[in-house]
């Protein structure tokens, strides 16, 4: 029974294999798809928790697929940031799966419903599970070409999911999304080619040990970064994001905004701060910080101007992504683990809060048939839990304590002041103030019930539409309280490099 040992590294293939198999099963068996999907997502969440336990007892691990060692074979590895991202995906994915069930059964039970809704549900489950497998593969993989493959899996399934709603606007947006994502991944692939040409290596740990800092490596890094920035939708490459996210079905918007974008960001961050940390110059870090600052301000201004709820939430994603990039120039003042902690807190808090927000917006859209902000007065009377979830998620977006975003912003502010870069402080404060404006602008309409207002009687009411959103919003709010525990996991550090066979280097 050696395979069942707790310290066996082969456990880390579970989060990749299980959703992939379940996705294929969902294609084969058209009944019981929800049962298959739910059990796969549950196993995925348990596997993420198990990998965290394994990391705490045994430290970071490497696993060579099929027994092929590093320079030729593909390796997976777990470390602090990877397992936390797995946990984020597991928790958010579980809630989104429950919500999607409620969402689709609401639309299918609707008397005006058609076969189209049935079909949407049929294709949703396999695509979502495929996307989940791709994301988990991205977080765990340690081979740069394998990372390209996971990026493509994510891109293909995300674009298909975005097209599911079948509206002309959604199809067009998803076509553009697919092309942008293809452009991004081809640029990334060209970067891999340059890297392979100058180093002859694909394994990230081996690349990190390399001291070579020639023009080939720098060109490769530039190409890969541009490709990933396009996929992460940093301003000014965010043009595809708002239409694609706002026109998709509500569970799909939640997946795209909360998880898909984090995948490419995680990869970018890992490349900049772990693999090529020696090639990064201060100027490059400042450029990234500047783009991040632009994203915070531009996204917030656009969010304040929107008339539609879902578009507003989509632009707020553009804005919130900026905070992740403002952490770049501050890395000179802090060490690696501290920068990781900012980014992980921000990413986790945003994933939970933004999916809760998109779910609430979707529930409101389902019940009222539109999402024009100015006509949504007094929603509280009909959907109190949804409005509560929206409000709590809004608190996280503003970065008030005790949310995870507060911890991240606090760390950002203190390092910006400690390293005498006060201009970032202004941007962060301005961004939070504008977040307050665009959140309150909507909440005030939801909560105020004008005189003589008769609340709409709602025929359908599914608990699955409301409670997952509230649970995610509460998690994002309370994330700050478990901060020491998360920091403890992150501090488990990176893998001991002596484990890699040195004879394999060419």
């Amino acid at each position: 029974m050696i395979f069942l040992n707790v310290d066996n590294p082969s456990w880390m293939i579970t989060p990749i294999i299980v959703p992939l198999t379940a996705g294929l099963l969902c294609f084969l068996f058209q009944r019981k798809t929800f049962a298959i999907a739910l059990s796969a997502v549950l196993v995925n969440l348990l596997a993420a928790c198990f990998l965290i336990g394994q990391l705490l007892t045994c430290g970071p691990m490497r696993y060579s697929m099929g027994g092929w060692q590093a320079p030729l074979g593909i390796t997976l590895r777990t470390d602090g940031p990877a397992v936390l991202m797995l946990l984020m995906t597991g928790v958010t994915g579980f809630a989104i799966t429950l919500y999607a069930r409620g969402y689709f059964s609401f639309r299918i039970d609707d008397p005006g419903g058609t076969d189209r809704h049935q079909q949407q549900q049929r294709y949703f489950w396999p695509l979502w599970l495929l996307l989940l497998a791709g994301l988990n593969g991205l977080f765990l993989s340690n081979d740069i070409f394998n990372l390209y493959i996971t990026l493509e899996i994510i891109g293909i399934s995300a674009a298909s999911l975005a097209a599911l709603s079948g509206k002309p606007a959604a199809r067009l947006a998803s076509f553009r999304y697919l092309l942008s994502s293809l452009l991004g991944s081809l640029t990334f692939l060209l970067g891999i080619v340059f890297l392979y040409k100058s180093c002859g290596l694909l394994d990230l740990d081996l690349l990190r040990n390399l001291t070579e800092n020639g023009p080939g490596v720098r060109a490769a890094l530039a190409l890969m970064s541009v490709g990933l920035l396009l996929k992460t939708a940093l301003v000014p490459m965010h043009f595809w994001l708002p239409p694609a996210h706002a026109n998709a079905l509500a569970p799909v918007s939640a997946i795209l905004s909360a998880l898909v974008i984090k995948g490419s960001f995680y990869l970018l961050f890992r490349l900049w701060f772990e693999v090529f940390a020696s090639s990064i110059t201060t100027e490059a870090l400042n450029v990234m910080g500047g783009l991040g600052a632009g994203a915070i301000l531009w996204g917030a201004i656009q969010a304040m101007r929107q008339h539609r709820l879902k578009l507003m939430v989509a632009y707020s994603t553009v804005s919130q992504l900026g905070y992740l990039f403002v952490a770049f120039p501050l890395s000179r003042a802090a060490d690696n683990a501290q920068v990781w902690s900012i980014v992980i807190f921000m990413a986790m808090a945003h994933a939970c809060a933004k999916s809760a927000m998109f779910m609430s917006a979707g529930t409101i859209f389902l019940h009222f048939g539109h999402d024009r902000i100015q006509d949504l007065t007094g929603v509280r009377a009909s959907l109190p839990i949804t409005v509560l979830a929206y409000g709590i998620a809004g608190v996280t977006l503003m970065g008030l304590p005790p949310s995870g975003a507060f911890i991240a912003k606090w760390l950002l502010l203190s390092w910006a002041l400690a390293s005498c870069q006060w201009w970032w402080v202004l941007v962060i404060i301005a961004g939070s103030a504008m977040a307050m404006i665009y959140v309150f602008r909507v909440i005030s309409r939801f909560i105020v019930i004008p005189e003589g207002f008769s609340s709409q009687k709602l025929e359908f009411h599914s608990r699955l539409l409301e409670w997952p959103a509230l649970a995610l919003a509460l998690i994002s709010l309370l994330l700050g309280l478990v901060a020491p525990w998360l920091l403890h996991i992150l501090a488990k550090g990176s893998i001991d490099l002596t484990q890699i066979l040195p004879g394999g280097l060419p």
Binding site: R171, K197, P243
Partner: protein
């Protein structure tokens, strides 16, 4: 050396041509073909890195494996892009595609 350089430069030029077409032209089919030309360019550079003159050592097999995988990805992505382009044309007229700005309003007629 000169052979590798020649093939690599051709690959880069193909990549650049594809990128130009992808950005400049608005017709969906042209965009899809442009992406294909770009990926062909990348594959050409990748194959060129594996080249060793005859009798001077082994040919590196890893780039070949990468190109094979890349071709599979490229074929499936092209299929998806083509079907999406067809669906876009079914439901909307071409005028929508020619516009530079994406209609940002979420249509209300879904439910």
């Amino acid at each position: 050396m000169i052979t590798t350089l020649l093939y690599s430069m051709t690959g880069l030029i193909l990549f650049g041509m594809g990128l130009f077409t992808l950005i400049v032209h608005s017709h969906p089919l042209r965009k899809i073909l442009a992406v294909n030309v770009m990926s062909t360019g990348v594959f050409l550079i990748l194959i060129a890195t594996a080249y060793t003159p005859l009798g001077q050592g082994e040919v590196d097999p890893v780039p070949h494996a990468m190109v094979l995988t890349g071709i599979v990805v490229s074929v499936s992505v092209t299929a998806l892009a083509l079907i999406l382009a067809c669906r876009v044309q079914e439901t909307s007229n071409l005028d929508l595609l020619k516009k530079k700005t994406v209609p940002e309003t979420a249509k209300e007629s879904t439910t």
